[in-house]
């Protein structure tokens, strides 16, 4: 096994206006540090992929971005959104999550009807107009490319859908709230290739309106859909650049070994 140098990194600063940025983000689970000084800028209306082996800290990093780690870990450092450090106690975390929405690795629709899955959060925010709700359900299901498949069974339980459909429903559920940023944690890892392709197509269509940050195991997937890619290794972000550059001209040895499959 080769020993790698972790102090050597290649992090680019995208010139595009950032939608979100982290400054020296560190995460601790008890005494164990899971993430070291992660500083990244995510350009607006672009897809950024976070790649790396299991346990490299990429999911941990992603979950910090909308404060999903609040209860399980200690998160230090700054997360800048609209010139505000949202990693502070006094920040309204619910507001953060409304703007920065998350789709999880395993599809987790609510045990409610398809319609209710989407309308639920809207109603909680005070939208009760039936016509408006119906419109939002339709547009977000269309945006997630699910409308045609489910439009006749909106009152069926969401749990009866296939895994791929459930995952797209989860995406639609986020979209209905019109967030700014969409975080996806390996959304396709539990799905078959056809469902995966559909999800990728959905994401590609969404990139014009949303800033998307996606964690993935699958390097082909990253190279297919992402504009920017960051490589995580053992809690360190070693390389971050435009996807094409990262895959064709990696500057760091670890990255090169990882993407060429020579890892370890």
């Amino acid at each position: 096994m080769q020993t790698y140098q972790y102090d050597q990194t290649n992090i680019c600063q995208p010139t595009l206006a950032p939608a979100l940025a982290t400054r020296e983000l560190e995460v601790f689970y008890g005494d164990k540090q899971a993430l070291f000084k992660g500083s990244l800028q995510f350009p607006k209306h672009r897809i950024t992929a976070l790649i790396g082996a299991s346990g490299s800290g990429k999911s941990t990093f992603l979950r910090c971005l909308n404060r999903m780690n609040d209860r399980v870990a200690t998160v230090k450092g700054r997360i800048l959104y609209h010139d505000t450090d949202i990693n502070q106690r006094q920040i309204n975390v619910y507001q953060v999550r409304r703007q920065i929405s998350m789709v999880f690795q395993r599809p987790n629709p609510f045990a409610k009807s398809i319609r209710e899955n989407i309308a639920f959060a809207l109603k909680q925010q005070g939208l009760h107009d039936r016509a408006q709700l119906a419109a939002r359900v339709e547009t977000s299901l269309k945006a997630a490319a699910l409308w045609d498949e489910v439009k006749d069974e909106l009152d069926q339980s969401a749990l009866a859908l296939s895994g791929g459909q459930q995952q797209r429903l989860c995406i639609a559920r986020c979209l209905a709230l019109a967030p700014d940023i969409l975080l996806l944690d390996e959304p396709a890892s539990a799905l078959d290739p056809i469902s995966t392709a559909k999800i990728e197509a959905t994401l590609a269509a969404l990139r014009h309106d949303y800033t998307i940050i996606i964690v993935t195991h699958n390097m082909q997937q990253a190279s297919r859909i992402a504009d920017y890619t960051a490589f995580f290794h053992l809690g360190h972000i070693l390389e971050y650049s435009e996807t094409e550059a990262l895959f064709t001209r990696p500057q760091i040895k670890v990255t090169e070994d990882y993407i060429s499959g020579n890892f370890g």
């Binding site: 609209h82 309204n92 619910y94 953060v96």
Partner: protein, 307 residues
């Protein structure tokens, strides 16, 4: 832009909701805690009065074997030896739990794993029915059916630890069964499939994977069952003979802490020694269940670590 910044800093409806939810649930929890503290304090002050006001030595209370609170013994102190009751209470509780656990786990496995349809829909509600039968009914059925049976089978009077254990066995069965099946149901289905995929037989899967995973839950079920057995009075009182004597065998009349407590409490005057010692019995009960509780928790933690 500014609006967004403001929103991020301002509390929203959701913040208030959460504040509300957290406070109300904390309020409930602390109220429940306070209730527990109140009743514990109550039992403790009364139970300790035996030692602080009546100056009974703890030793003679815990190790003495004669129980006769209204009479003065040879040493000039009232005779309040609780040892026979402590021994009997421990014996019937442990025996009932030991006896009931395999049956309860067996039924729980049947209900959750082997025949969830038939078992879950018919057997479990039936067993839960047992909880609702008043203890006095258990007592009288025990008295009119079990005691003669025991007398017939083993001689003696038919009253004693064995009969008490059997009655308690039936009484704790539903508690242990339903809590154990709850914890078995909570074992993720993936575990089952993973074990079966590795070629395990159903029993290996159940024993090595499912039961192992549900162990802490099953142990809690047993604690709750023992707790019920500990606290049960009316039924045991009728079949155990209710004589404060050291148990000399399976079927000699003896008495548990609770049965003596229930018998005596209406016939004594508050604030006097015969009444205070009854509260001391309740205190022993508390301390004992606390001990069991910690013990089972400790075992549970060890079991989980080894997994």
């Amino acid at each position: 832009m500014d609006r967004m910044k403001q929103n991020l800093h301002q509390a929203s409806k959701a913040s208030y909701q959460d504040y509300f939810g957290k406070s109300i649930s904390l309020f409930c929890a602390s109220l429940v805690g306070m209730l527990v503290v109140a009743i514990l304090y109550f039992v403790m002050t009364r139970g300790l009065a035996t030692f602080t006001q009546n100056h009974i030595s703890l030793r003679s209370f815990l190790l003495g074997q004669t129980w006769n609170p209204t009479q003065i013994g040879a040493n000039g102190q009232p005779e309040v030896g609780a040892l026979p009751m402590i021994v009997t209470s421990l014996a019937v509780t442990l025996l009932a739990a030991l006896l009931a656990t395999p049956f309860a786990v067996g039924v729980a496995l049947f209900v959750t794993e082997i025949a969830p349809r038939r078992g879950g829909q018919l057997l479990q509600p039936m067993i839960e029915l047992l909880v609702g039968i008043p203890s006095v009914v258990y007592g009288f059925i025990g008295l009119s059916a079990l005691v003669p049976l025991m007398r017939h089978l083993f001689g003696g009077t038919g009253f004693g630890i064995l009969t008490g254990t059997l009655v308690l066995f039936v009484m704790v069965l539903p508690t242990i069964t339903s809590l154990a099946s709850d914890s078995l149901r909570a074992v993720p289905l993936d575990y089952h499939s993973a074990a079966l995929a590795l070629g395990a037989t159903r029993w290996q899967m159940l024993y090595k994977v499912v039961l192992r995973a549900a162990l802490p839950g099953i142990l809690t079920a047993v604690i709750f069952g023992m707790a019920r057995a500990f606290g049960e009075a009316l039924a045991v009182q009728m079949v155990i003979g209710n004589a404060v004597l050291m148990p000399k065998g399976w079927l000699t009349p003896t008495s548990t802490l609770t049965s003596q407590l229930t018998t005596g409490i209406g016939n004594t005057t508050l604030g006097t020694l015969p009444n205070n010692v009854l509260w001391s019995l309740a205190l022993i009960l508390l301390v004992m269940s606390l001990f069991f509780n910690s013990l089972v928790r400790f075992i549970g933690r060890r079991g989980r670590m080894q997994k």
